[in-house]
Symmetry: C2
Amino acid sequence: MNSIIVVGGSDAGISAALRARELAPQAVVSMVVADQFPNYSICGLPFYLSGEVEHWQRLAHRSREEIEAAGIRLHLDTRVVAIDPVRHQVMVEQTDHGRATWSYDRLVIATGAKPIRPPIAGIDLPGVFDLHTMQGGLALAQYLDARSVRSAVIIGAGYIGLEMADALIRRGIVGVTVLEQKNAVLPTVDEEFGRRLGAYLGQQGVRAESGVQVTEIERHGDGLRVLGRPSFSIDADLVLVVVGVEPNTELGIRAGVAQGVRGALRVDREMATNLPDVYAAGDCAETYHRLGQDPVYLPLGTTAHKQGRIAGANVTGGHERYAGSLGTQVVKLFERAVARTGWRDEEAKTAGRTPLTVQSTHWDHKGYYPGAHPLHVRVTGDVADGRLLGAQILGHWQSSVAKRIDIFAAALFQGLKVADLLDIDLSYTPPFGSPWDPVQLAAEAWEKASRAD
Amino acid sequence: MNSIIVVGGSDAGISAALRARELAPQAVVSMVVADQFPNYSICGLPFYLSGEVEHWQRLAHRSREEIEAAGIRLHLDTRVVAIDPVRHQVMVEQTDHGRATWSYDRLVIATGAKPIRPPIAGIDLPGVFDLHTMQGGLALAQYLDARSVRSAVIIGAGYIGLEMADALIRRGIVGVTVLEQKNAVLPTVDEEFGRRLGAYLGQQGVRAESGVQVTEIERHGDGLRVLGRPSFSIDADLVLVVVGVEPNTELGIRAGVAQGVRGALRVDREMATNLPDVYAAGDCAETYHRLGQDPVYLPLGTTAHKQGRIAGANVTGGHERYAGSLGTQVVKLFERAVARTGWRDEEAKTAGRTPLTVQSTHWDHKGYYPGAHPLHVRVTGDVADGRLLGAQILGHWQSSVAKRIDIFAAALFQGLKVADLLDIDLSYTPPFGSPWDPVQLAAEAWEKASRAD
């Protein structure tokens, strides 16, 4: 393989390019990036907008120089407009140099996702933003800097919506409202946690409204008015629409790549598409789920990196297989962290399992040592065979919520039973845990409940 | 089974008693405790002595009332002086009631460990303390309260010695010296970490001396003088001897329990001794090692709890097997945490493996988010088959060092390869990690080094 072209420079793209260079130092690896921001941390935008990160340039995972030092040929402001899979060519359009045709031996499509645009009248009005690219983030920052924004409405109470509520409060905006269509905020975790979190957000000055549907945004005086069902009307200086993403597949589809779940590019576990020598990875592609052993759509940076790494190995002639996602995720909101991994009850039921979810609460470390906080842990297991199916944790941001969910993830990775968690030799010292870690106490609570069930 | 007697009320004892009551609610479960302190957190003593925990009573894991509410018959100030395995009886001596003979159907010996008393002249002088029981801790507290202690020498730079150095500095004692016979402090981790930690302790005002052997303690004026090789002499108001523990086996041995590694009571994986219906668990007993699949001696609270739980199930007629220890442990020292799990290089070599240990350093979370700290991670793997053998982490105390070592422990538990760590779907958000967690970046560093090796 001589020429490898990677379309896209975000998580999947960079991991693919780096891995290809690592395994095939002789290969020419080109990374084609549509904008000027290769390998930026889009996940970091809320922390820039909050003021916690002073300069947006710091959001670069890697500098241009570092990427080039790794031997990757970086093409910025370069858009791949078409793929010719028969001729093994891509047509590119460069801001400075016009059109060109480049040949590839193997190609990785890593075009990512794009924000879902819900059917809301007035979604294109000035003052209405989404948040998915560096350009978009910088435009929002400029708007916030230039105007005296005193109130904001965030449509969508998922990870980004809630992170942005935190960010805008931190920034000093007094009136921050989050609107969610489902029954509670953060619908990626169980309603019990969503309600608890909604109440907590209220204490932090965020007005969180669930079960509402936005239908229209209109100009109102100098600002905007958000209208919806059941009948409500909120005025705001700024509206943010963050209701999720969908795969950005146009380039792949036009070239003939087959589509799978939710329209994402269909890939096998080697991240190969149906087209010869064309791979796809990251948010534009399907995700193999480790528990369900079937494709799902789970756009996450961690997944994109892992898929990119697999694609990067395979474009050099490898046959690595993606081990699969567990949907592990965590978010920090003010002083709280919420995390999940694996399946929730209803997902497990859909997959034909017999789940039981048990919630229990434990101190993050020995209560006598200063600074102990409660951790709420929900464990989902299969009552038929005792297998762990998933877990969710809600607690203080300094209670190792993220790394505790990772212990569950490591157990899920290998199909452990809930009871097996009690057998793992985990660490203990009073400032950091208990002789039985909260992870294990939660497993024990599940065990007892499942026997009583 | 009607009558179950558990000798000892610390970690192994309480877990055995609770588990027996849980599985056999009809059984009479008696827990016999030699002193007045059932189920206290001995591990918490340094934090009481430092002043971080105000009242020693808070060190109780469970109150007397909670233990009794669980249906356990608690006998305090009661010493089991002999076991008659033929008659299935124990002879007890009670402070208030004199001698008695009690019958058991099944017995759990959980007599713990006792401090090693090294051959140092003057070790019994007033002002020389060990630290292993509540009484000992309270005596030391009283001594510190009553006298104006300005200087202390700690003999032994293991976990407890270093925690006590931290505690005494926190308490305001200016001259704290730690003496270690081996080449660096904390010899349970690699010398590279020990040296780094020694330098850090110096910055915190602790004088840490390695490669020295104490031979004598003598009175000197109102205080004490500590002498040793290579020739040195240090004066101090207080001396603490904390050079490790040995199994407390006298009761078991006199009854005919066979001994194993380091003189500990020999047990099988069901925690059964050679005597019928007599089990042993915790620091008085051998520990099955999950990697070596052979008995070792590894006195740790976590291990004691797990062994106790197994013994507790089996005295009710169960046949549960102890899954094995990985020697996972963590300690907090000032603002640092140090943790390990599994084998170190030399331990793996002794076990016939071909280890390679690779150290790498990573940010605990994205560098752009405030408060990022470096994590030093040492991964030990087998170059012959790529299997993970162990890991060590040194970092800031708020960098989830403990729970990150637990991710390694969960991987070790199931015999994963180092490369498998890169496949686990771990959580990510900029305030808590990276798209590839430091655990995974360290695994990747090992992989690269092992290929170059």
